[in-house]
Structures are given as C-alpha cells and as structure tokens.
C-alpha cells in the first residue's frame, strides 16, 4: 500500500530532493512550504508521515509537532523532524514534543530513507 508522505520545508531545493527521494521509495508526496500550511495539510490530508523542517516561517516545526501531538485525531501521524540544528538540547526538545525521529541536516539520503521505511512499517 502506498503511503502518503507530507514534506514540510521552506527551502525549495531541499523540497525537490526530498520529493524525489520519497517518490523513489514509492510514496505519494505532498508539499507544504510553511508551518501553518503544514498543519492544515496534516489535518486535511492525514498523511502517514510528515518530514518536518524545524526552521520554517510562521509556525516553527516544533510548534507544528506539538499541535499535532496534542490532537488525538492525528495520533497516527508519524513525525520525522529535520533540522540544521543538531545540539543535544534540540534533539531532546524534539523527542520531548513527540517527534518519532529527529534527523540533522545535511542528512544521508540512505539513512533518511531507512528511517522513513522503519517508521512507516508500523503504520
């Protein structure tokens, strides 16, 4: 069954690379370019997994993650956070807010694909 992956990032080129990667993995892809659009898309399209960038205009990735986790209707959504910030505190914050995984940029496409596969396996 094809899974639906939402890519939430404001950097166009990163979106392109992620889109390509996810399509190659066989998933259906939609895109949001800022935090508010991401949240709206999650609510309306109910993707199985969100690739969520942290530094976004409007609502930050952290805020989106928190909002999703606070909504019981969206409990099934897997969240994989992407960020250029890689300090322990950021990682801890992300996990504390309920992200299922946290990957720092620049990432390895192979690792990212593996993680996505892992997360979607349980869905």
């Amino acid at each position: 069954m094809t899974k639906h992956v939402l890519i939430a990032d404001d950097e166009p080129n990163i979106v392109i690379s992620l889109e390509f990667l996810m399509r190659r993995e066989g998933h259906r892809v939609s895109v949001a370019r800022d935090g508010d659009a991401a949240l709206a898309a999650i609510r309306s399209e109910r993707p199985d997994l969100v690739l969520l960038d942290v530094m976004m205009p409007g609502r930050s990735g952290m805020e989106v993650c928190q909002a999703v986790r606070e909504d019981p209707a969206l409990a099934g959504t897997k969240i994989l956070m992407l960020s250029a910030k890689g300090r322990d505190t950021d990682l801890a914050k992300g996990t504390a807010l309920g992200a299922d995984a946290y990957v720092t940029k620049p990432f390895s496409t192979r690792e990212l694909a593996d993680k996505v596969r892992e997360l979607l396996a349980g869905v």
């Binding site: 404001d10 080129n13 990163i14 392109i16 390509f20 190659r24 620049p106």
Partner: protein
C-alpha cells in the same frame, strides 16, 4: 519541717502560676501587644543563667573556698560588655537566616553541613546531661531537707526525683512543644522566665536579708566573727597559696564567659528570642547588675551557716533552706525552696526546648528525610513528636546521670562539666564569625577533638568517681599507660581537673580548627557562607528580619513550582505554603511564574525556621537540581561594584550575540549543503536516472554551491569588517560614474523581470575618497534587493544621487510591497530578510548588515523609509570628509 503535701501543693501552685503568665503573654503577643518586647524583660529573661546552681551550689562553693564561686558570674559580666558587638552580629545573622539553634548557627556557617549540625547537637545533648542532673539533685535534696523524707535512697521506682523529672518533662512540653515552627518566638516562655528570674532573685535576697539581720546583727558581725576563726578566715581571701591559682581563676572566668553565650538555653534566650537589637545596650549592664545582686548575699549566707552549724557538720549547699528552718521560719524556707525550684525549672524548660529543637532538626529530621525520600507523606506532625520525645528522654537521661554520677561531686563541679562541654563550640562559632578561612573540615576536626578530650578528662572521671566505672584508669591510666591518665594527661599535673580539661580540650580544638582549615582552601559554598557571616554587619542595618534582595542567591537550579509547593506544604503545612507562594508572587507583581533562585532561597529560609537550616537545604536540594558553586561563582556573586557588573553585562550580551550569530551562520551554511549532498547522493544511487532529471539536479548543485560560496565569502567579509581586519583600498571615486556602472551591471536582471530602472544624478559630483569596490558592493546590494522586491512586469526602481556641501546621498526606491514598520529595524540585522518571509527570494541575509558596516566605516549612515504597500526606499549618506572609523 514541712509537710510533703504542703510543699508539693505550693510547688504546683507556683508552676501553674508560671504557666498562667506564659499563657497570658502568648495571648498578648498574638494580639500584637507584646509583653516581652521590652529591654528589661529581655535582660531579666537572661537571668535563666542562674539555676539551682546559684541557689545551692554557690553557697556550697563559698563555704569551702570563699570567693571562688565568683568567677562564674564575673565571666558573664565581662562577656556582656561584648554584647553590643559580638551578640549583635550573632543576632543579625540568625535573624537573617532564620537560625533557631546553636547547631544551626554553626552548621550554617560552614556550608549548612549536616554532619556538623549533628555533632554540635550530640555535644550539646551529652554535655547538658550533667547540668540537668544538677537541677534534679538540687530539687531532690531541697525537698528532702524541707520535708524530712529520706530522699533518694531506695530503688529507682520509689525515687521521688524520677517523678519530679517526669513532671518537669510534661511541664516543658506544655510550655514549648505545643506547636511547630520554632521560628515563632516563644513569647509565653520568655515572659515566664523573666518572671521567675525576679522570683528567684527576691527569694534569695530575702534569705540573705534574713541571715544577715535576722540571725546576726548585720553582715559586719558575720565577717568579724568569721575572721576571728582560723578555719573560716581563709574564706575571706583568695587562698592564693595554691599552685596556678591565677590560671584557675582565669580559666573559670573564661569558661563562664563562653558559657553565657554557648549554652543552648543562653543561645535560645539571647539570640533566638531577641526581639530588638537595641535591647542589647540595656543588657550590657542590666544583666551584670542582676548577677551582682543575686550574689551579694552568697558569702554572708555561707559564712553565717558555717558559724551557726559549725563547719563540716552540715551540707553547706542547702544553707538557704536549713538556716530558715533552723530558726523556725518555715515560711521563708518554703519561699527559698520555691525560689530554687523556680531556678531549676527555668533552666530545664529552656534548655530542654533548645536541645529538643536541635535534636529534631539536626539529628532526627535528616535521618527521617533520607528514609522518606520520594514518598510525599505529610511530615508536619513529625518534628513535633520528635521534640516531645526528646524532652522526655532528656529528662530521663538527666535523671540517669544523677543516679549514676550525681553523688560523686558537689553541684558546682557537675555544672562545670557542662560548661566545659559547650565551651567546645567557641572556636568553631566565634572563629567562624570573624575568620573567613574557617572551613567545615576544620570545625569538624576541632569539635571532635575537643569533645573527645572533654569526655576523657571530665565526663568519664566523673562517672568513675561515682563507682560506675573502675577507678583504676584514673590513677594509673588506661591499660596502665600513665601518660594518658585522664586527669593528668601527658603528665600535666597540679591543676584542678577543670582547668586541666579546659586546657587540653580547647588547645586541641582551636589548634585543629586552625590547622585543618588552613590545609585546604574553602569551597565555594563555604566561602559564600563565610562572607555572609563575617561581613554580616556590613549589610545595611535595616531589612533585618526580612529577606533583603541584595543577598547573594546561591540556587541556580530549576525546579517545578509544583514540586516546590508540595515541598513547602509537606513541611510548613498546606496553608502556610500557599500563603508563602502567593505572598512572593504578589511582591513580584503577578502570578507565580517559573520559580527562580530567589523564591527557592526564600523557601529554604522559611523551611529552616521549621526544621533547621541543614535539613532545609537538604530538602530543597532534593527538589531542585543545584549546580555546585565553584569558587568562581562565589567571586562573581561578590563583585558588587557597578563597573564590574556593567562590564559583565556587556560581556554577556556580546557573548550572546556571538552565539546567536554562530548558530545562524551554521544554519545558513547547512541549508545549501543539505541540497548539494542530497542531490549528489540521489544521482549516485540511481545510475538509471533520466538525463534531463540528472541535468536538473546538477544545475541545482551548482547553484547551491555558488550560494554557499557567496555565503562563506560574506561571512568572512563581515567578520573581517567587524573585527577591523578588513583592507580598505581608498581611491578617488566619481560617484555618478559608479552609480551608472552599478545599474549597468544589474541591468540584465532587471530586464529579465520586466523592471524599469531610472537614474537621477547631477552631472558633476565632488570626488569621494573611499574603497571603490566596497561602495560598489553597497550599491549592488541595494539594487539586487530592489530587483527582488519590485513587482514583476511593472516594477519601477529609481536610483537618486544627491550631493550637498557636507555629504553625498544615494537612494534606491522600489515600488514593491514595502516593509512593515515592525520589521524595519530588523532589516539591517544579520540573517534577517525583509518582505513577506514566505515568498523569500534567495539571499544570504548578510547583504544589508555588511552594507551598513561599510557605510558606517566611512562615517556615514544608512536608512530605510517605507510605507507598507507603497514600496521601500533604502538610502545611505557618505560625508566628503570624514575620519575612517574602526568598527
């Protein structure tokens, strides 16, 4: 002879009277019309120093060695002269830190050490037992004498003294262990003690008057007759023929002077119960006066008794009773007995309460806390139960000592054993108040050594001399080692046992205190506390009793406010806790936000009042994660000069800026890198990729690489300019030509977006002296910004150059969306990009900040004028003649 029921009834009535006074005073205190906030009452309350010892022991001592009873009272007299300095400092410290016992005081000074608090408590507990026993003995023998009953002979369950002890225990509990929170003063107790001081003074003076003028024709006759008898005459002198008499007199005086401060009951009344510092002035002379008056008739009574009964035939200690009885004044004898009872009761009540507080806070609660870690049971009832138990135990143990060792010594000697015990606190306590170098290890070492030596040279011999330990070790030393004989330690012979013990114990105590303290530098916490104590008088005199905000705040941890509230509720009770937190929030203006160090500190102080400062620290530490203070932190807390503070603030903000910048740069650098890496990997992993797609990705990699290079260059540029390391190659510039050149360079970009560019410039402008490339950089930056934000197909950009006598002004105006007012300031900050962030075109965010730096380097200024919806106008001005400024 009086009938026992009568004596008991009178005693009971008197005790009830005391209780009534206490009750009344408590009530007045609650109403706010305190009875005890009065210098005279305060001075009288210190009369608790005079116990049954004064009543019986002094007379006994005078009868055997004349004036040698006096140093016990001369010492305190001299000590009181220091009240205004030393005592005031102690009171200030205690008030500020809510210290409620001497164990607390010492432990607090050395970093709130629980071990130290426990040791001090132990010493106080053991040391005070002889003193308690003394009181019981006095009451017992007085009672026996008065009623003619056999006294303490017989098995212990028939011993009336035991029941007296239990009765007094109950009385003490009723007096001072009815409710918790010993930070409240015991108004009732103080009033009662002041009253009983008066009673015992009057009773004693009454007996004195009776003996002098009732039995004899005045003191003159007593002394004359005494002088005529060879056995009594020496009592009128000092008996200076003894070896080391000077040393002994000195030692006794010193000992008494220390004890008037260090006995638990003294500390309680002097420091804890003090209501006003200014009372200390009255105290300086009023208390010595009291001592003088109560001692005035000691010698006449002693001599009178000896004259009447003949020496060696009657127990001199009970002269105050036996003389009135012998002369058929049972009423006076009863009054004297009540006076003695009063003296003993006063001592027991205050001493027991003080010691019970210490044991509860510094021995029991820490153990209980450790056992209960994690289980949030309400423990507010526990300290009270502990205190009551301790009071009963104390009296029973005192009784035990009385049975075991009470017969060996005269009352005076027993009391001196206790004095010597509490004297061990002196180095740690007074050293701690005046020497910043004192450390916890030093205090522990000194106290331990002093206590050990005291026990060896005084306590054990007293028990041995009563027959409960084999006396062989007294004469020959333990295991026959003569050098270790308790009363001639290391061969030091010739002194009386007290002076000898004092010498060794204080020597070892003070010596180890200093030596061990100097062995290692104080820790951060110790240094912090040392400053608070030693410099306590340097704080402003006001704010005593309130937490002054200027106090260095040592907590640096986080802790949920819920946890703190739970902690407070657990020990102070739910209502007090709620009140405390609300109070704090109100003073801070607003609802309690996250707890900060000040709140935690205040909470700790409040708790200290209830359970002792060492336990409070432990409790709060268990909730809040505290970072240990390094000495650097302490120094930072100490620096209160405005210059250093300001510099530190500046440094901190610059540091923060640097950190922000660094994190922004790394983020900006990582973003293009992410794309580059991702595309490269995608191409590597898919050899069959569609060539068009591959080409697309390669183009993107190139673009992002360029972006990355630009960024790196700009960051380096920025760094160079800001640090002053940039190279400025100044030459003569024709601004008009430069502007034209800039527009030409960017023409392609504008054309592609359908934006028209207009240039307005005078034909001739004066020459500018600056780095051509840099100024061009600024122009290009402004133009490219305009290109980004001007609308496509219809965008208009105007470049205007103006020159006047002072400066050149260049403006680049576009008709884009403009910049909202709140963002106008931010536009020049690093990594901020204006306009609608969602539609942010590719840029580094560093262009404008660098431009501004360049302009300001030449003494110019840069600005932005914009109304949202009507475009933006970026401009800069460059003076013709300006000093180049290093940024």
């Amino acid at each position: 002879m009086l009938s026992t029921p009568l004596v008991l009834a009178a005693s009971f009535a008197y005790l009830l009277l005391l209780f009534g006074i206490a009750h009344y005073a408590d009530g007045r205190g609650r109403q706010g019309r305190s009875l005890i906030n009065n210098a005279w009452v305060y001075a009288l309350s210190i009369g608790v120093y005079c116990t049954a010892w004064t009543y019986y022991g002094s007379v006994g001592r005078a009868a055997s060695s004349g004036l040698w009873f006096l140093p016990i009272y001369l010492g305190p007299t001299l000590g009181m002269l220091l009240a205004w300095t030393v005592l005031r400092k102690m009171i200030r410290i205690a008030r500020r830190d809510r210290i409620t016992s001497i164990a607390d005081f010492i432990a607090s000074r050395y970093g709130k050490s629980r071990a130290l608090a426990a040791l001090v408590t132990l010493i106080a507990l053991v040391g005070i037992l002889p003193y308690v026993a003394l009181q019981l003995k006095a009451i017992a023998s007085g009672l026996a004498l008065l009623t003619g009953s056999p006294g303490t002979a017989g098995p212990w369950w028939q011993d009336s003294t035991l029941y007296i002890a239990l009765l007094l225990a109950g009385f003490t509990i009723a007096f001072g262990a009815r409710h918790l929170d010993s930070s409240e003063r015991h108004e009732g107790m103080v009033a009662a003690i002041a009253f009983e001081s008066l009673v015992k003074l009057l009773a004693f003076v009454a007996v004195g008057v009776f003996v002098c003028w009732g039995m004899f024709a005045g003191p003159g006759e007593i002394f004359t007759r005494a002088a005529d008898r060879t056995d009594l005459a020496p009592l009128l002198g000092l008996g200076g023929g003894e070896h080391f008499a000077a040393a002994q007199w000195f030692a006794l005086t010193l000992l008494a002077m220390l004890s008037v401060f260090l006995l638990p009951r003294q500390f309680q009344m002097l420091v804890v119960e003090n209501t006003d510092e200014r009372h200390l002035k009255r105290l300086s002379w009023a208390f010595p006066l009291y001592l003088l008056l109560i001692n005035l008739f000691v010698l006449p009574i002693a001599l009178g008794g000896l004259l009447h009964f003949g020496s060696g035939r009657a127990n001199a200690e009970t002269f105050v009773l036996s003389l009135p009885l012998a002369l058929d004044s049972p009423g006076l004898a009863l009054l004297a007995f009540i006076g003695g009872l009063s003296a003993a009761t006063g001592m027991i009540i205050v001493e027991a309460i003080a010691v019970a507080t210490m044991v509860s806070n510094d021995l029991a609660m820490p153990l209980l806390l450790r056992a209960q870690r994690g289980s949030p049971r309400d423990v507010s009832a526990l300290p009270l139960a502990v205190r009551r138990t301790v009071i009963v135990a104390l009296l029973l143990l005192g009784y035990l000592y009385f049975r075991v060792a009470g017969e060996a010594y005269a009352l005076v000697s027993i009391g001196l054993i206790s004095f010597a015990a509490v004297a061990q606190f002196a180095p740690a306590l007074f050293g701690g108040m005046y020497w910043k170098g004192g450390t916890r290890a030093g205090a522990l070492a000194g106290l331990a050594a002093g206590f050990a030596l005291w026990a060896w040279t005084l306590l054990l011999p007293s028990i041995a001399k009563s027959g409960w330990l084999p006396a062989a070790f007294l004469a020959h030393g333990p295991f026959g080692i003569a050098l270790l004989r308790p009363e001639q330690l290391f061969g030091l012979a010739g002194f009386d046992n007290l002076t000898h013990a004092l010498l060794w114990s204080l020597l070892a105590n003070a010596g180890l205190y200093v030596a061990v303290s100097l062995a290692r530098a104080p820790t951060g916490r110790e240094a912090a506390q040392a400053l608070r104590f030693v410099d306590a008088m340097h704080d402003a005199g006001h704010d005593v009793g309130h937490d002054s905000g200027a106090r260095p705040v040592a907590w640096r941890g986080a802790g949920g406010s819920d946890e703190l509230r739970a902690l407070a509720a657990r020990f102070l009770g739910v209502d007090s806790a709620r009140r405390l937190l609300a109070d704090f929030a109100r003073r801070r203006g607003g609802s309690p936000a996250a707890p900060d160090a000040e709140l935690v500190n205040q909470l700790e102080t409040q708790l200290a009042g209830a359970i002792g400062s060492a336990s409070a620290r432990a409790a709060v530490a268990s909730v809040v994660e505290e970072e240990t203070l390094a000495p650097d932190d302490v120094l930072r807390m100490l620096d209160e000069t405005s210059e250093v503070r300001a510099l530190n603030r500046q440094l901190a903000s610059l540091d923060r800026l640097k950190d922000d910048f660094m994190s922004s740069v790394t983020h900006e650098l990582r973003t293009p890198l992410t794309s580059i890496r991702a595309f490269a990997e995608l191409m590597r992993d898919d050899p069959q990729m569609d060539p068009a797609q591959r080409q697309h990705f390669v183009d993107l990699i190139v673009a992002e690489s360029e972006r990355l290079s630009r960024l790196v260059n700009q960051v380096l540029d920025m760094a160079k300019i800001e640090s002053g390391h940039a190279e400025w190659r100044n030459e003569t510039i024709d601004l008009a030509a430069l502007v034209a050149h800039a527009v030409e360079t960017t023409a392609a970009g504008f054309q592609a977006r359908g934006i028209t560019v207009t240039v307005e410039a005078p034909a001739q402008v004066p020459a500018l002296h600056a780095d051509r490339d840099r100024i061009l950089q600024v122009l290009l930056n402004l133009l490219s910004n305009a290109a980004k934000f001007a609308p496509q197909d219809g965008g208009r950009v105007t470049v205007r150059l103006q020159a006047d006598a002072r400066e050149a002004r260049i403006e680049v105006r576009d008709n884009g969306p403009g910049v909202p007012p709140e963002q106008q300031r931010l536009v020049f900050e690093k990594f901020r990009q204006g306009g609608d962030a969602r539609a942010r075109p590719q840029g580094t965010g560093l262009g404008l900040p660098i431009s501004r730096q360049i302009v300001e380097h030449y003494g110019g200024r840069m600005w932005l004028h914009s109304t949202p919806g009507e475009g933006a106008c970026f401009g800069f001005a460059l003076p013709w003649h300006a000093e180049e400024t290093k940024p």
